[in-house]
Symmetry: C2
Subunit: 238 residues, 2 copies
Amino acid sequence: MDKGKRARVDETEEDELDIDPEVADAIQQLQEVQDQLEKVNEEASDAVLEVEQRFNKVRRPLYDTRGAVIASISDFWLTAWLSHPMLGTLLSEEDQMVFKHLDAISVEEFSDIKSGYQIIFTWHENPYFEDKQLSKVFKFSDDGTVSVSGTQPKWKPGMDLTARQGEPEKTNGRKRRQEERECSFFVWFSETMQTDVFLEGPDRVAEVIKDDLWTNPLKYFTQDGEEDEGFEEETSHD
Amino acid sequence: MDKGKRARVDETEEDELDIDPEVADAIQQLQEVQDQLEKVNEEASDAVLEVEQRFNKVRRPLYDTRGAVIASISDFWLTAWLSHPMLGTLLSEEDQMVFKHLDAISVEEFSDIKSGYQIIFTWHENPYFEDKQLSKVFKFSDDGTVSVSGTQPKWKPGMDLTARQGEPEKTNGRKRRQEERECSFFVWFSETMQTDVFLEGPDRVAEVIKDDLWTNPLKYFTQDGEEDEGFEEETSHD
Ligand SMILES: [Ca+2]
Ligand SMILES: [Ca+2]
Ligand SMILES: [Mg+2]
Ligand SMILES: [Mg+2]
């Protein structure tokens, strides 16, 4: 019995097709229920967004206060980042030198929230690039895609860390593999493929920054190296 | 400067450690801000849950109506399932025979929503197993883990489709690989590992059922095979 299989919702074609009228009627009823469900879902997500917007306004001054306190602690973000089990693995030794010039990380949701967010890295004057800010922006569309854009750093002459990974270096007598930790994190700012959120999942690094590091960086900053095994505190002797 | 690095929030130990008092003070301030943020986050998620609960009550009668209409259409769920680009690939030919005995699929969130949901498959009398229902349950804990439990089907003698995959069959003169489509979907009910939601992501199949198929099964039921390339309608000639 595969009468239903050939059915279409498109009403103009329905009569021309070989469908049991009872099935056609049932499909029509289902379409009406789905339309009602869709309306309820839209109302629900509007109501949730309203709540989120309301609480984002409450969070904003707290994040501002936090940012001011963080700015008074040397290498706060570098330390927290390196202590994070996933993010810590992403910085090459050179990246860590660059992160010494990092003043702030900030995650900002668009005011309507559902349409996206951006992650902003603020730097002080440094020998690597001209930019005061590098950011990555995620814009969600109603069709379930996310378009990603990022700042291409304006590297100072000879300082482009992302260009260096093409040149194989000798390490312990063997060629260093490009995929390993010496791949610069700064490549991430240029990874701007349009992604299908539903099937692929969005940028994992961005998610971890937004939902974990940003939520509580102090947790990682105060984490002692002894507690997280397998993590080398390579910058602690600078 | 790695004064901050060795800092701990634990106040009883703080004085004994070698920390700049200004950094210790800043950490203390950060902890206070984080405590306030956590309180706001809890209020926000309570408020969101309240909204979701309210709308779930609105959706419930619509789902009930939908279920009654669906029950009047032969092989509705089998047809919709097979037309889904991801779910459709999960049913072996034998699984498809079993799905001919599927009366209903239902997704039910726990009444507090945040603590989990279950997916229930309701079957009529069939030659494969004794169960009227097979379900898979996802329980979320505050620590970010999800514990998964599922119904082990009570297979009738000789009918256990999940046991057969151990026996390699000859297909086109070569051994069929176990990972391929002939692996029974019913294994899914027994895949009950405790998972770290944050780093691993939960059960992908469950997510697709809950957030896509359940949301609008009619979309897949009415989808014509011609529109989704690479998908074989293996049951259409039964
Ligand atoms: Ca550490
Ligand atoms: Ca189809
Ligand atoms: Mg700094
Ligand atoms: Mg049926």
